[in-house]
Amino acid sequence: MDTLPTLTKTTVELATEIQSLQAKLREAEETLRAIREGEVDALVVSEHRGEKVYTLKSADRSYRLMIEGMRQGAVSLTADGHVLYCNHGFAELLKLPLDQVIDSQIGRFVAPELHPLLAALLREGWTGGGSQGEAVLLAADGSRVPAFLAFNALAVEESVYSLLLVVTDLTEQKRIEELSLLNVAKDQFLANLSHELRTPLAPVMAVIARLESDDRLPPEVNDDLAMIHRNVELEARLIDDLLDATRIARGTLELQCRVTDLGQVLAQAIDTCCAQEVASGRRRVVQELTAPDHRAWADPSRLSQVFRNLLTNAVKFTPEGGTIRIRTWSEERLLVVEVADTGMGIRADLLPKIFSPFDQGEEGTARRFGGLGLGLTISRAIVERHGGILSVASPGSGLGATFTLRIPIGAEVTALGEPPEPGSPLTAEATGAAALPALHVLLVEDHADTAQAMSDLLTALGHRVTMVGTVASALDAARSGETIDFVVSDLGLPDGDGHDLMRELASRHGLRGIAMSGYGMEEDIRQSHEAGFEKHLTKPVDLEVFKAVIRQVAAEKK
């Protein structure tokens, strides 16, 4: 039996071996199961230099990173407000280390007067499928942090719920809200201020106009009068700029658009602003208005304001001997107007700010050149309201500046604003007016642009217009024997006063009329009524009111 012990031993050995193999297999299976079921999140890998541990970045790791990285506070709570976990965002909001927040009652961090609110939010969050509200948190440094709280009950695992709180810091938002309130108050103040500043100028200007036409005054005072006139007008313009700026800020800048020949408007602006330069030869003024078509759907007086702004700037900032070049050309469906000068130019770093309100480029400019720094802000806003662009370029300080205005023309004109199209309000009213009798209107206005605008409007409404610019020619028209239904008259006329004209027209010819005036104070309105005007409209005239008055007169004639 020599082989028997060997056999027995072999059997024992085999049994042991099998047992050991079974244990290894079990371990391997167990490892696979654990990995498969997600119970493992790191592996040890034997590498050349020894063991290395690799953690598995599981899907929820990205959520953890997100929650840690987000600026909001994320807190998980028990139903009664005990903090189980919070992210760094929440701890930072409270200016506390993380471990001093976790395991605390959330109420510790909420202003005491808001505890009833907090309790309600917790209750609703837990039972009512979510709750939210604004509260004030108390930070460790004693500061109060306005915050938005949103509670939600979440099923973390099957039948295990946790209350999740997301906290948004409202400090910045509250600050912006306060600032915007302040801003509204500022705009309101500026609007009131400019109105109050403008009011006393009206009678002064009326008196100046009267004195200037008074032959009894000695000629020596003419220069003084002219100086007073110039300066009062300058002041009025500055205040108007301020008014415009407040209108832009509040979005109440209104345009009175019609088909306008901008070439003509530009040429007039050049005459006004550069005539002296041309006459004196101090600065060279070059005009190349070569665009084939200058017509655009535009507000002529507003664009004239833009041109005058650009031109006075060019004159102001160009030293004697310099050149101001004004060009126009067409680009696709745009009219381009360029005003280039060889003046002091604009530093590259100041270019982007040049259209900001109250910005005047380099420091000291305001002291040297005066002004409020509103012209370009207003100009750009006006151009943008026309669907155009106003841009600036300058190679640098001392190297001149070029302002370029692009405004839609041609086909774009009809796409913009409210040009007269079939079915548009203007046409509809014109049709409506056609049902009413046509009026013959005597329009007395010495300001050519205004006269043209009113005349265009009346014609569009189906009426006939006789345009005159002086008291004398108005009286002539009345005496001509042609029937006049209605008078629309300016008050400050070159050869007299609109009040006197109306008295004459009413008493001698039985005419009715309305007054248009730059002045709209109670006293002005009373004077107009005394003179026999049925209505006193303040310039810029509200066209809707104007149309309503005309409609009423026409209806009465019927």
Binding site: R33, A34, V53, T55
Partner: protein, 110 residues
């Protein structure tokens, strides 16, 4: 080897009679969620099933990767029962206490 075989076949009741200490080693990888969960589950399990007769050694393989060799650790977390012998390993976060009972031979395999 025969002793090991005997121990392995002992019933939990028989084991509870003795006062032998359980020497457990938990291999973790820093503060990974499964590592943290495994430690919490293990503590709870031992307090319930082995009150006063266990010792847990936590080995962080992130700090000491070499220590993986002695128990041939592959996946983390892994629990190793050093004592009583034989050595047993349970892989995973120990969230299923039934499986832990079986794995530690506190309940016979089905």
């Amino acid at each position: 080897m025969s002793a090991e075989k005997e121990t392995a076949s002992l019933s939990p009741d028989a084991r509870a009679d003795g006062l032998e200490m359980w020497d457990l080693r938990l291999y973790v990888a820093g503060q990974t969620p499964r590592s943290v969960a495994a430690l919490a589950n293990l503590k709870k399990f031992c307090d319930e099933n082995l009150p006063g007769q266990y010792r847990i050694e936590v080995i962080d393989l992130v700090q000491n990767p070499k220590l993986a060799q002695s128990d041939q650790i592959l996946a983390i977390p892994t629990l190793v029962r050093r004592l009583p012998e034989p050595i047993r390993k349970i892989i995973g976060d120990l969230s299923n206490s039934e499986r832990v009972l079986v794995g530690l031979d506190l309940r016979p395999r089905s």
